[in-house]
Symmetry: C2
Subunit: 222 residues, 2 copies
């Protein structure tokens, strides 16, 4: 069977492209972006760029303000909202995951916690973030709920945007590792309600720490 890769429409490619640029920080938060500029830069007409804009708008990554469009600029209140939503969704994710997680998946999670302890000792921040993301991401995936995965993807983009702009290297205090162990334990024991409640608390704790950091460096007028 011959397969031909028929490339995605431009507006899709441009959508992905801009999305990445925003998350990476190439387009800065609050900055203005103009369809014409991007069109010119990419050597295409404005139509597909505008269609990409509409998708980004719906993702919340760009905002329309009286005709001009700006890159989404997270503010503290919104960040809190996002974390709370995250707490709700991930709480549900682990609730579901508890009921269907396989042994090898449990082992992988446990391994990642061992690695994280090592990375913390070595002060390897990037590795810590990566493993932390892996831990949360795994549970979301194991939940098996596609909608939930999709929504968490979008939420994480927005939170990431915030972190990239203000706390590039932040990964919370090291208490999270203990909480991760507790989560793992709840997963093992099969107590979905307990796991869910722990996850919510874990994420809300993370939020509290973030808030403290925020008030500590409130010179960043958010």
């Amino acid at each position: 069977m011959i397969q031909v890769k028929k490339s995605n429409p431009l507006y899709e490619q441009i959508y992905e492209n801009i999305k990445e640029s925003i998350i990476k920080g190439d387009f800065k938060s609050g900055e203005r972006i103009v369809d014409g500029w991007i069109a010119e830069q990419l050597g295409v007409s404005r139509s597909p760029v505008r269609e990409a804009f509409r998708k980004l708008e719906q993702d919340g990554l760009i905002v329309n303000q009286e005709g001009t469009t700006l890159v989404y600029k997270p503010n503290v209140d919104d960040l809190i909202d996002l974390f709370e939503v995250r707490a709700g969704l991930e709480g549900m994710a682990i609730f579901l995951a508890t009921k269907k997680i396989a042994n090898d998946e449990l082992e992988k999670l446990e391994e990642s916690l061992v690695l994280v302890k090592k990375a913390i000792k070595e002060k390897n921040t990037m590795e810590v973030i990566k493993l932390n993301t892996f831990f949360h991401g795994s549970i979301i995936k194991i939940s098996g709920n596609r909608r939930l995965q999709e929504m968490m993807g979008k939420i994480n983009n927005l939170i990431l945007l915030y972190r990239n702009n203000f706390f590039a290297k932040y990964y919370g205090d090291d208490v999270f590792i203990n909480e991760h162990y507790e989560l793992l334990h709840a997963l093992k024991s099969g107590n979905a309600e307990a796991a869910s409640e722990k996850m919510r608390q874990h994420i809300l704790n993370d939020l509290e720490q973030l808030k403290e950091k925020l008030s500590a460096q409130s010179d960043n007028d958010l």
Copy 2:
């Protein structure tokens, strides 16, 4: 101060317009829709319609399939996912609401439950649905989390779409009223964790009932 209403761009109006048409069922689930048709019908060009499409696509109300676009057709698996997400979000909503609900808001909720009992007795289905929606919607609003409200709005649209297409008159068994009383009680007592857990169970129970109805009338090939 003179105020001039500068009307929204066409693509916004068209977006709202189509969204409503889909939810109301004027465009049927799974049906094909073509930008050109809508453009012609509205007497505009295809550009704003296409931009509206991109927004709808991001909402999940329409789906792109190899170049053609179809109205989203809910299937059972997806409905389950949606309900689980709903359970997560509304669980969080009541968790937050518990901590900030005012007395008059509690009273209004209680009133609505009294009215619902009456409506059930009178077999006034529309009224039951309306009050039920009010109960859940109030809690979401009281949570004060704008993101959560927004996301629940979209989820409810998708669920509504399902109901409109398959269970126009369904509102679950009457047990829900007892569960609503329990939720109210948890709200009053200020026990956020308990309220949250109850809400999740309440919604998952609702899902179970829906599933039963589904298998009962499985002639609807979803």
